[in-house]
Amino acid sequence: MSDPATMSAAVVGSDAASGALSGPRGPKPRRRFSRRNVFIYGTLIVVALYYLLPLYVMIVTSLKGMPEIRLGNIFAPPVEVTFQPWVKAWSEACTGLNCDGLSRGFWNSVRITVPSVLLSIAIASVNGYALANWRFKGADAFFTILIFGAFIPYQVMLYPIVILLREMGIYGTLGGLVMVHSIFGMPILTLLFRNYFTSLPEELFKAARVDGAGFWQIYLQIMLPMSLPIFVVAMILQVTGIWNDFLFGVVYTKPDLYPMTVQLNNIVNSVQGVKEYNVNMAATLLTGLVPLVIYFVSGKLFVRGIAAGAVKG
């Protein structure tokens, strides 16, 4: 019986000895310039340039004076940096009707975006919660119809909605546009929230019901505090979507109430006088600033929320 014992001792001994020997050990070294790396980084750099170059041109151009632009080298950095085009784009540029720049459009867009985002998220999150957790009668049919709505092209509904808004007496008002944005955001947002809420443990919902919490209490006290990431995702989707909207803005509002995108178009396409490229570039950058800021501020939460929603459902 003593044989195995000595044998195992010998094995342990030789193990320890081999630890000091040469041979592969520790993390496997990686070659920095392998063909694979060159290919991956090469592709990434090309793609990045493809997207960054236009942005660069826009920024550079918006900081030049008109004489410098007429020299024609669009890639050259500005010799003399001037912020005049930005000021002009914001407060002096002329659209067809008036000459108070983009500022009017900016405030219109704010007044359209904020209520639309809040309203659509509030309604869609309750929809999603009800669909995910309460499974009321006809829930599946309701959901199917809603999702189907996401695939109908907007153009088909443009005119019927004009009639609808006119009958309701809110055609051409900000309220009408807010309603249109809220309704069109509903399918995708409801889907998003429903999937997120189904991914939360069902037993939590059951526990809350045993604890006597009702529909709104479970939503407000249990579900909401756990759902910050998905609310951020929804907010980003809606803010960028509604801010960048052109079609609904131009169709459902009057010139006084045009959102920033429509005004930008009017400035850039206005035919009077010389084309002021620097002002146009500045105006475009100003319009894109809001979605850009939203992305940078909440980018991390965005990715987390997308991932959380993607796990299940």
């Binding site: 443990p201 526990a207 019901r209 045993v210 604890d211 249990i222 756990m226």
Partner: protein, 362 residues
Amino acid sequence: MDPSISIKNLKLSFGAVEVLHDLNLDIGKGEFLVLLGSSGCGKSTLLNCIAGLLDVTDGQIHIGGQNVTWEEPSKRGIGMVFQSYALYPQMTVEGNLAFGLKNAKIPKPEIKERIARAAKTLQMEPLLKRKPAALSGGQRQRVAIGRALVRDVDVFLFDEPLSNLDAKLRADLRVEIKQLHQTLGNTMIYVTHDQIEAMTLADRIAIMRGGSILQLDTPKEIYNRPATKYVAEFIGSPTMNFLDGRIEGGAAPRFTSDVASFDLAGYEFTPQGPQAGDAWFGIRPEHIIVGPEAAHSPFQLEGQVELVEPLGSDTLARVTSGGQRLWVRMDGQADITPGQTLPLGLTPALANIFDKTTEARL
């Protein structure tokens, strides 16, 4: 004795699929009932029906003498503990315990008092201010039990409360739950697929399969007199051995297989009595006597050892005898090696015989 819970002709379907079939069950006051069955047999579904978390398709549920079939979960006088703990992540332990009480509009001083009492019973006073994320699995499950405890209800429902915990913690909490039941005297329904939990905790065990209850009896009775072959196989580890053969009826029934033929004197038949036909002779590993003492058994076999599993307290061995495989359980100190031939003794009085076609006990 009035039943604390009584389930009458309960049916539940998910769409076209019927998951619970015409189930009847009476649970006495203060009884500890364990629902045991393999995965997907409808244990959680039954528990959710009792809790009111699922609308039943047909039938009635009575709790504490009242028909609660249409009642809200919170109005049924139950507390429930879930497998995944289901603690509200953004609330502290105290908040978790208080949530249900606040919803029931119980005055603040009483909430405080009840939480203090539950915390003392479950020894979690130092945890009250923490969030669930800062607790270990065992502590979380204790909080979940506490949440049922503060509700001051007569019925506790547990859905596999220990299956997310490691073996040691499981054994500890199992003892605590048993202790809790003895102190409180509540009615408890406990779902598990761990037969050790079932055997140790239950006053009665309900063995479920495919949405029906196969047998409802004390752990001892289920272990010793399983009603069907399925129950016999489900309870006990390693499972019961089955010898393939046939019964010859008459005044002195005999069991005959290709290994042997023996007299069934001492075997307790069901009231229907022995019936001739193909049958399984089932005997538990620990009821096979091994070694020289086998000579005193009513019937003897010889078996060759194929495999040995020493467990410390016991030693299990797989032996073959005339082409049939048997597991036997021996003392932990037994010194046996594969290839060895062992004398085996069988006692028909300790066996269970099942009809081959109906699989019911004879």
